[in-house]
């Protein structure tokens, strides 16, 4: 497993609920969203079975932090080789649930 943590600038999240989204299965991932004591940044912790793709992860996660008001959230990811498309989708879903946009 390859592991790394990024702290990315982001607009403070409106509401912050703990939630788990997705399942760790081949080509898929789970995202655990939790509130943490920061305001203008989110912390993203990645553990992935696909080695050597850190550049791509950083690009995907940077775009996520830019496009979503995720300051004050910690996102912990267990990944089993999801493609960037699946990662982005799952992050958005987790975010929508955690920030109260969706049920």
């Amino acid at each position: 497993m390859e592991k790394f943590t990024l702290t990315l600038k982001s607009v403070p999240a409106k509401s912050r609920r703990t939630t788990l989204c997705g399942v760790v299965s081949s080509g898929n991932l789970e995202v655990l969203v939790e509130p943490i004591g920061m305001e203008d940044a989110c912390e993203i912790e990645v553990s992935t079975s696909a080695h050597g793709f850190r550049d791509i992860w950083e690009a995907v996660l940077n775009d996520f932090a830019k496009e979503h008001e995720s300051g004050g959230l910690r996102l912990s990811i267990n990944d089993a080789g999801a493609t960037p498309a699946v990662v982005s989708l799952r992050l958005s879903q987790a975010f929508e649930i955690a920030s109260g946009d969706a049920p």
Binding site: A59, T83, V86, S92, A102
Partner: protein, 546 residues
């Protein structure tokens, strides 16, 4: 006196050699190998029928058992090299040269034989191209074909899986060749005659029914949300936009998703009757919901699909069905239909480069083409107009003072395949393969200048609207997502292309990504398809979970 019937007298000589083992064209199963030894001559061009669906597998096994010292120097001219026996025959040294279309499961073994100079490849063709050459310079001397049934005269019933048989038999029988058929059963009365007995020299009851691969069955349960999203983009951003009524789909899950979105998403957009009415397509099980909801008016098939026999029979308004009530397919005609009569082809691929060339070749496999290049190419001989075709021509600014049309050729791909393999690359593997296999052309499935649109989860790139090579390349990079190829895009230029509508993201089309769920699929598993077909679809055992 000059002799004008060498071929006919040679055929007579061959028939005479086999006289002892046949009675009124019927040859006993156990004499099949002996028959082939008697009628095949060294250096013959031989076609062992088979494609990505049905296979004359019994006769392939038999020819691989013939005496290599007598049956030798063969030139195989056939659609596919898919069976291990095809390759065995080459390894036994009985084949000198091959001309074919597709090698599928045997692609790696073939690559090895080519590398070791055990075999010469004439060319890798498309199906239609190879059929064409049967009637010019690659006419078989002996054709080994597969049929469902024969009657006692030797008439053949090929039924729903007629496929390549008429093209092969026509070329062989009318040019002094020998036609040998393996049949699943011998009956007193055939439902209908697909091949008349006087075009057939011998028929043999095979010990087991000929093999048919259920290649076009896609289990809806395996369709992902990303594929649903891409399907929505295709329907709203392309089919609706151009008003695509006549089309052909590839066999991937992406296009299966589109088929399953027609009765739901497309119907909600009010597109019923406006898109996807006429098809050149195999009877895809995933098309059942669209047919049942009245979306589809006509489907002509290259082949059949295992389990769809009762369904196609029961829908003669849609499919091409004989007086006996069973469907007839015909690969050559359907390929022609796909090439000339369809406004759009959409399919998937493994790699796309900066020119939009796409290929399914990888380094250690010689896979070939099948039919996609004929579907996925502009038909420059086309002379009839349709709104979609004309609009594409206008967008591409074709024609010098004269209106011209263009076929829409679309690749629908995810930016990454499984195991994080990028679909978009700077350099196709096909180049390396061409070098190692000593091929004159890199095996490109669809040429960049034929390609009009690329759809990925990132949106649509409309290449028709690009005016320079640079714009075109940036349009491709602009939908290539987080692949290294995509990340090296010129961000400003891509935004500019987006402003001009050359790149359209999901949100530009008014599609919300969160709506892209599997709930939109008209069937979510094979069982749903059975139910929607009213129990007429009978899926093969490996696709069931009940």
């Amino acid at each position: 006196m000059k002799q004008h019937d060498h071929l006919a007298s040679n055929r007579l000589a061959r028939l005479k050699r086999a006289a002892g083992i046949s009675s009124n064209r019927l040859v006993a199963t156990e004499h099949a190998v002996q028959l082939l030894g008697a009628v095949i001559e060294p250096g013959d061009r031989v076609c062992i029928e088979g494609n990505n669906q049905k296979q004359a597998d019994f006769l392939a096994r038999c020819i691989a058992k013939t005496d290599p010292s007598r049956v030798t120097g063969l030139h195989l001219v056939q659609s596919v090299l898919a069976l291990p026996e095809h390759i065995d025959l080459i390894e036994r040294g009985q084949v000198e040269r091959i001309d074919f279309s597709f090698s599928g499961p045997q692609a790696s073994r073939l690559a090895l034989l080519v590398e070791n100079k055990k075999i010469a490849i004439g060319a890798i063709h498309t199906y239609l191209e190879l059929f064409a050459r049967y009637f010019v310079d690659l006419t078989p001397r002996v054709a080994l074909i597969a049929a469902q049934a024969a009657d006692r005269e030797g008439n053949l019933y090929t039924g729903p899986n007629t496929e390549d048989t008429p093209a092969i038999v026509e070329a062989t029988a009318f040019k002094g060749g020998i036609v040998i058929a393996q049949v699943n059963e011998i009956v007193d009365r055939l439902p209908r005659v697909d091949i008349p007995a006087d075009w057939v020299n011998f028929y043999i009851k095979a010990p087991t029914p000929h093999y048919i691969e259920p290649l076009f069955t896609r289990d809806p349960a395996l369709i992902t949300e990303i594929q649903v999203l891409m399907g929505m983009i295709a329907i709203k951003g392309l089919y609706a936009e151009y008003g695509i009524t006549r089309l052909n789909h590839g066999i991937g899950f992406d296009t299966a998703a589109i088929e399953l979105l027609l009765p739901t998403y497309a119907a909600d957009l009010g597109l019923k009757g406006k898109i996807c009415t006429h098809w050149a397509l195999n009877p895809h099980p995933t098309l059942i919901p669209a047919i049942e909801s009245g979306f589809v008016k006509s489907v002509h098939c290259f082949g059949s699909e295992v389990g769809m026999e009762r369904y196609t029979s029961a829908r003669p308004d849609i499919f091409f069905v004989g007086a006996d009530g069973s469907m007839r397919s015909n690969r050559a005609f359907s390929q022609a239909a796909g090439h000339y009569a369809c406004d759009l082809f959409i399919g998937s691929t493994l790699q796309i480069d900066s020119h939009g060339n796409s290929s399914t070749a990888t380094l250690d496999r010689i896979a070939g083409f099948g039919g996609a290049p004929n579907m996925g190419a502009d038909a420059r001989g086309r002379r009839h107009a349709s709104p979609a075709w004309l609009r594409a021509g206008r967008e591409a600014q074709l024609g010098a003072g004269i209106p011209r049309g263009k076929k829409l050729v679309v690749q629908i791909v995810e930016t990454f395949r499984e195991h994080m393999q990028p679909t978009f690359v700077e350099h196709l593997d096909a180049w390396e393969l061409a070098k190692t296999a000593d091929m004159e052309l890199p095996p490109v499935m669809i040429y960049g200048d034929d390609l009009t649109h690329i759809i990925t989860e990132e949106g649509i790139a409309n290449l028709l609207l690009c005016r320079t090579q640079e714009e075109r390349e940036q349009a491709i990079r602009g939908v290539a997502g987080y692949t290294p190829f995509g990340m090296s895009r010129d961000a400003r230029m891509v935004e500019n292309l987006r402003d001009r509508g050359i790149i359209r993201r999901a949100e530009d089309l008014g599609i919300r990504k969160r709506d892209a769920t599997r709930d939109l699929l008209a069937a979510r598993n094979i069982k749903d398809l059975v139910r929607i077909s009213g129990g007429l679809y009978d899926p093969p055992a490996q696709f069931r979970n009940w």
